[in-house]
Symmetry: C2
Subunit: 512 residues, 2 copies
Amino acid sequence: MDRSSGRRRGSGRERRSVGAFSQMPWSPPSNPYAPLDVISADQVEAIHNASLEVLEKIGMDFLHPEAHDILRKAGVAVTPGSNRLRFDRGFIEEAVAKAPSEFVLHARNPAHHIPVGGNRMAICSVGSAPNVSDLEGGRRDGNAKDYDDLLRLTQIFNCVHVLAGYPVEPVDLPPETRHLDCLRSAAVLTDKFFHAYSLGRTRILDGIEIARIARGISEEQLSREPSLFSVVNTSSPLRLDNPMIEGCIEMARRNQPIAVTPFTLSGAMAPATIAGALVQQNAEALATIAFLQTVNPGTPCFYGGFTSNVDMKSGAPAFGTPEYAKAALAGGQLARRYRIPYRSSNVNASNCVDAQAAYESEMSIWAASLGHVNLMMHGAGWLEGGLTASFEKFVLDCELLQMMEAFLQPIVVDEDTLGFAAMADVGPGGHFFGTAHTLERYETAFYAPVLSDWRNFESWEEAGSEDATIRAHKLYRRLLAEFEPPPLDPAIKEELDAFVERRTREGGAKAA
Amino acid sequence: MDRSSGRRRGSGRERRSVGAFSQMPWSPPSNPYAPLDVISADQVEAIHNASLEVLEKIGMDFLHPEAHDILRKAGVAVTPGSNRLRFDRGFIEEAVAKAPSEFVLHARNPAHHIPVGGNRMAICSVGSAPNVSDLEGGRRDGNAKDYDDLLRLTQIFNCVHVLAGYPVEPVDLPPETRHLDCLRSAAVLTDKFFHAYSLGRTRILDGIEIARIARGISEEQLSREPSLFSVVNTSSPLRLDNPMIEGCIEMARRNQPIAVTPFTLSGAMAPATIAGALVQQNAEALATIAFLQTVNPGTPCFYGGFTSNVDMKSGAPAFGTPEYAKAALAGGQLARRYRIPYRSSNVNASNCVDAQAAYESEMSIWAASLGHVNLMMHGAGWLEGGLTASFEKFVLDCELLQMMEAFLQPIVVDEDTLGFAAMADVGPGGHFFGTAHTLERYETAFYAPVLSDWRNFESWEEAGSEDATIRAHKLYRRLLAEFEPPPLDPAIKEELDAFVERRTREGGAKAA
């Protein structure tokens, strides 16, 4: 039986080679298995204690006076003229304990709301790549057309739950008003939960307003319902920069979630040991989360882990390495210690969409999933250490993510699935193809891929010997051609356009 | 710093593009982490009980009268004129309990002995592919030259610990004497533990003799020291064929290890539910292991799991699927219930060495490793559902296997690695590249890949934009060009040659 014959007989080669597109339904997974612990409870405590010692004795630089004012009022000793803050362990522990363990991310489409915490897992699209690539156009600067197309893929794939930042930076849009255009696209082309950058006060306030308009809610309701999120990256080692601080203060004041993510690259911005990099990650994350809880107790936060290592021979950052995987799992253990939802990523350092891109991503996805990640950033489309958003990688990642989602559906063990009757029916030497037990399950028994090609060699060769990357290319082109934007209330669309027009007239971020 | 400059300045593009070859030392890993359980203890018991019910009420066909004689003497009821045997659960449980939990595989090079059991893990090369392929020569019938070359790769890579069957079937060698030539090559080109096929009495006895000669030991010592192994595949559902029975009886009589592996493809040779396929796998494995323990109590056995699923649309076998991964993990839980070492595999269904080959293999490797596999068959080189042994896939797999080996080395957490002094030294906003803490670890801090390319895009593009498959091709060609066979006592070589010559003159397997 030809694998595509049942659905689209006579369709062209492109359709035949990828099969009719069908995907898993929207269903952010819950991990039913125990997390994998790579360090002992004592070792978790050793990292915890060392990171508190770092914050007490070495301290951390907060490069904004407003942060100093806020923390001084909370009793943190501030030395005038210095950015350096040293934190008592009591202050850190008490403040961090105020971060909630669970919250809900509210999308403009309520079907796409995402409960966060516990064993639940949500997946994000790639964020913040300066370049974009596909097989046909090669690698190019980020631009508005590709930006929109990556938003469309984010909307199409059910296994991508969150739009986490600009998939690619559209440098052809003016920097002062880019955030307005980009976030309007996010609110129009997708109906999923999205993100705004904490790059100063103006941009984040514009982002919050666009999220509010898109959901058609009041400011008061927004402050009760997380409606967009932002990422705060520390400037490792042990520094938090001015624009990030401005942005995240406004987010915290409005109770909007923040993923706090130190970028602790072991051997470069962090010690050349995974234990040391984890200590620094933990110190930076705890100090930043404690700060946000001081701004507004109960602000939803993610504990972010992004510890990887450099290639010691070249200094190049490496991702999806064995060290990365161990750090991602240990990061989950630390996040669970503080009962704060965990953010990890799907990363790789390959320069093209090849076997390396796949295996480094699998290392990341397995580690994040077994570490009970709650928010997997860069889930689909990240290539080349984050320097490129790739269309083919987006499709490839969706296959990997769907497979993990299917893996996280537990084996059903009951009298019917144990299959005694089927085995008695077939008997030794028989075949299960035509049995009632099999036919009943024909449509739903097993995971159906979007990208994998399981035809025999001869059929595959006859159809053009297309590898997974070529198939991903054809699939993404077809999906974009067939894209229809999600429904949007015309009044909301009008309000969005009016807001963006007004803010553009005012000069966007320049007006600040 | 160019990644290859420190080692081979001025070498050609091929060397530059793959870097100087260095690999991890020989060190079959021990898994320090808890196994991942995908079913509960109650569900394990449900599968156990259902499989005993299958053996009691449906039974299993053993297609050889000698098996019936052996089992009749042990009290199993045998109906004259029927191949069907039905087993009391008491008989199965008592017999299976005789299988040892631990044993040692003895190679001709004692440095390559492999202790089996517990958390220990050994990796095998690809076995039994009818075709072979590489980028240059394409896909072709198995042949003696490629057979030898795949043996050479098996010997070269430290992360491959066992030669598990013919990597490819050399169909240009006469079938009657092929096993003699093949096993002599195994004993000469490698010094690792190897395998002979249980295809009738003659071939397996020749294999045992070649293993004995290669190790330079007596028959009596061989019967104390497992010196080669064989795989018994049941002919699922619920059947064990004649030549397999003949071979494994001889192996068991001489105390040589047997990996008992039902091929329970869910939806084809097993029920279309993973629970049902596991019941059948378990029934077939237990009956066969019980039989071997009846032949010779204490015979070393592996509990083999090979449950996967078909593509329901085409009937094509699929590998490395989510269902496969869950079955591999549940298989490990069953093997541990019986305290019998566990055999799983590294499988995929891709038709070429692409992203699909990598991600399906990663699904298999993670599942096997987290399931505490003791013997990972088809670890390196398996492609296309086992129909092809691929040279590039061999190299790719060695990267995946080394990465898993490095992942299984636990994070070291002590005062030095926690890195407080390094962080105090560098301080906020600094850099760890030049610190003493980093320089001390320059050579050993992180996993060094054999295949991954971490250069930046521009350097990679300038060097020819080679993807991982092209790099694997170049690396395998270079490694073969540099291959030197392991030392072998000339007296042993002479004895091997004399044995093979005599048996060839006698007609090989035809003489039986």
